[in-house]
């Protein structure tokens, strides 16, 4: 099972003048994996992709594709193809010519080209569009041509640079699922760059979250969401509550203290943190439940509980966001599912106890 990774980045650095765009990045991407690079704009994700494609050369470090060191190999000698952000379809060529381009450049014979272009267009449901020019196609169709143009070459790895960014929301959602099933069908490794966390969570086998040129965490979507190992990751993926805390104890169990002295147990803390340090406690809003005083069970070591006042209720359909003002002035949001429609248990101004399983609470470094 210990196969060669499809793509391997070893301590890759890329600087542009004074700016470090990619900062000591090491990633191993397995064969057939749908791997996403996720981060805000300017985080280095696109540069990382361009390094793999060969449009940029690393300042230091090494990139291997299928076990082969790429060095300064130009893009046309790499077994990868790219789907560009704005598709970059050749405007002076028809759909057929666009898709056939890569095969022609590889000097594949005409009959074979015709067969493979036909297959590729069928795969993306564009049969009968061969003679059209890119300008005559809708955004979604152009997107499919770009996909077919890359996939027709049967690359080892397909690189996708925010390919759905230019589409409207509904089409984007449909294309996400289509892309995922296409990837499963062709079995090619996909490396997908996006700033849209929902898109990354929906499609990826694993995600690398990047910020300021660094990879902060590489994990499967659920792992990334449930167990963020970095403040930025917790904040960027989904929503979370951050409570400023001081670390009271790390062994055997983790205990932190709010500004007003309330002590809370937590499930995990970043390794480098020390007792006495200031930190952030991260807890997802849907992990929090609200109780009245009479509903409370006796306190125990695995449940965290804080007292506060209901300050605001925001109804969003599937659930209602309850903002609770704690005694020390901080606020947390609890997202309660609207399971019982008839019930309207909380009112603004009511005293409440917010409670969560300590395992969901994570102590993260302040910066």
């Amino acid at each position: 099972m210990d196969s060669t990774p499809a793509v391997e980045l070893c301590d890759v650095v890329k600087t542009f003048g004074e700016v470090t765009a990619v900062d000591h990045v090491s990633i191993q991407i397995q064969d057939g994996e749908f791997f996403s690079l996720l981060g805000p704009s300017g985080c280095g994700k696109t540069t990382t992709l361009r390094l793999i494609a060969g449009f940029e050369m690393p300042t230091s470090g090494e990139i291997r594709i299928g076990g082969e060191t790429q060095g300064f190999r130009p893009p046309f000698r790499r077994p990868v193809n790219t789907v560009f952000q704005q598709y970059a379809l050749f405007p002076h060529m028809t759909v057929y010519e666009n898709v056939a381009f890569g095969l022609q450049m590889q000097k594949i014979d005409r009959a074979e080209i015709r067969r493979r272009v036909g297959e590729a267009l069928e795969m993306v449901h564009l049969q009968g569009m061969e003679k059209r020019r890119p300008k005559q196609l809708s955004g979604g169709q152009q997107q499919r041509v770009a996909l077919a143009r890359a996939l027709v070459n049967r690359p080892k790895v397909l690189l996708l640079d925010e390919p759905l960014g230019a589409l409207d929301l509904k089409l984007r959602k449909a294309m996400q699922l289509e892309l995922k099933s296409l990837q499963e069908h062709v079995g090619i490794t996909f490396i997908y760059v996006t700033h849209d966390q929902e898109e990354a969570l929906t499609m990826s086998d694993r995600i690398a979250v990047m910020n300021e040129g660094k990879v902060l965490q590489i994990d499967a979507p659920a792992e990334l969401y449930e167990n963020p190992k970095h403040r930025f990751v917790a904040d960027f993926i989904g929503e979370t509550n951050f409570l400023p805390v001081k670390i009271v104890q790390l062994h055997p169990d983790i205990v932190v203290e709010l500004g007003d002295g309330t002590r809370l147990p937590a499930g995990w803390a970043e390794e480098h943190l020390r007792v006495g340090q200031e930190a952030m406690l991260s807890i997802r809003p849907e992990k929090i439940n609200l109780y009245e005083e009479r509903e409370l069970s006796p306190p125990n070591a695995t449940t965290a509980r804080v007292q506060g006042t209901v300050e605001r209720l925001v109804y969003v359909g599937t659930d209602t966001h309850h903002t609770v003002r704690l005694r020390n002035g901080d606020t947390i949001v609890a997202r309660l599912q609207n399971f019982y429609v008839e019930e309207e248990p909380w009112e603004v101004g009511e005293t409440t106890y917010a409670q969560w399983d300590a395992a969901h609470a994570r102590v993260l470094s302040k910066e």
């Binding site: 494609a53 060969g54 449009f55 130009p74 893009p75 046309f76 990868v80 193809n81 790219t82 560009f84 952000q85 704005q86 970059a88 379809l89 050749f90 405007p91 002076h92 060529m93 381009f101 890569g102 450049m105 590889q106 143009r149 890359a150 070459n153």
Partner: protein
């Protein structure tokens, strides 16, 4: 009248283009017709025309003496255009690869020669190229590089050199504009699809810059074929182009109808050349 302009957008549009329309009709279309009509009339004794139909002007224009000058003018214009293209394309491409601030500066530098009068610039070439007293031959001979002066003057070489020098910038401009517009990710897409640099150029950059190439070639070819200052000065009175013959007919020979006939023929040649060129260029570019 004001009421009409306020109510009717079409009337407003007409009112706005009326000055230029009138100007072009009076000073461009009308003279063109006058030339066309004159070319079928008889010459007056001291210039001007006699209103008598005369088709012989065109027969005379096709006489080998003049016809060969026609062919030579076409040849000189074509060679000039080709040289401008070969020199201008890489220059335009190179400028697009510079940082934006530098690009504007370079384009400005390209325009600087136009600040000096064309006649003066052509005379400057004269002082460089002249056979016995020209700067180039004099220095080369005094340095002992050559024994006899090089034939740099009063020939097609001198004319083509002068024309290339004069018209190179107008070739660069439209090509630069076309290349500048070209989406750089198309080049990357081609590279990504296994195209070598040669193929990136032939299959992507060149076809997409063709509109600029066509425009630039027209802007060079048309003034080059009709030029008369450059051949008059650098041709040294020996190497002539059709423009010189036409000006001679009007200024020296006082044969206005014949000059008009030559002019009309030259316009036909330009029109035909332009059409053929556009057709073939557009076919190659796939109609973009």
């Amino acid at each position: 009248m004001q009421e009409l302009l306020r109510r009717n957008p079409a009337a407003r549009a007409w009112a706005l283009i009326m000055p230029s329309l009138v100007f072009l009709l009076v000073f461009f279309v009308a003279p063109l017709f006058i030339v066309l009509i004159y070319s079928f009339l008889t010459r007056g004794k001291y210039g001007g025309v006699v209103w008598q139909f005369n088709p012989e002007n065109f027969q005379r224009a096709l006489d080998p003496l003049y016809f060969s000058t026609f062919l030579r003018s076409i040849y000189i214009a074509v060679v000039t255009t080709l040289i401008c293209l070969v020199l201008g394309y890489p220059l335009a491409y190179w400028i697009t690869t510079r940082p934006p601030g530098q690009r504007n500066l370079l384009m400005l530098a390209l325009m600087i020669p136009f600040w000096t009068n064309f006649l003066i610039r052509t005379y400057a070439w004269l002082t460089l190229l002249r056979t016995n007293t020209g700067l180039i031959n004099v220095s080369l001979m005094s340095l002992g590089v050559i024994k006899k002066p090089l034939p740099l003057f009063a020939n097609d070489f001198a004319i083509i050199l002068g024309l290339v020098y004069g018209w190179l910038p107008v070739m660069v401009l439209p090509i630069y504009a076309a290349l500048e517009r070209l989406d750089k990710s198309l080049i990357e897409a081609a590279q990504d699809l296994y195209a070598t640099n040669r193929h990136v150029f032939l299959r992507v950059i060149w076809p997409l810059s063709l509109p600029g190439v066509v425009a630039g070639s027209m802007l060079v070819f048309i003034p080059a074929i009709g030029s008369f200052v450059t051949p008059a000065i650098l041709g040294g009175g020996k190497s002539l182009m059709i423009g010189n013959i036409i000006s001679n007919q009007f200024l020296a020979a006082h044969d206005w109808p014949f000059g008009s006939a030559l002019s009309t023929l030259m316009m036909l040649v330009m029109l035909l050349g332009t059409l053929i060129y556009f057709r073939s260029a557009l076919r190659e570019g796939g109609g973009v």
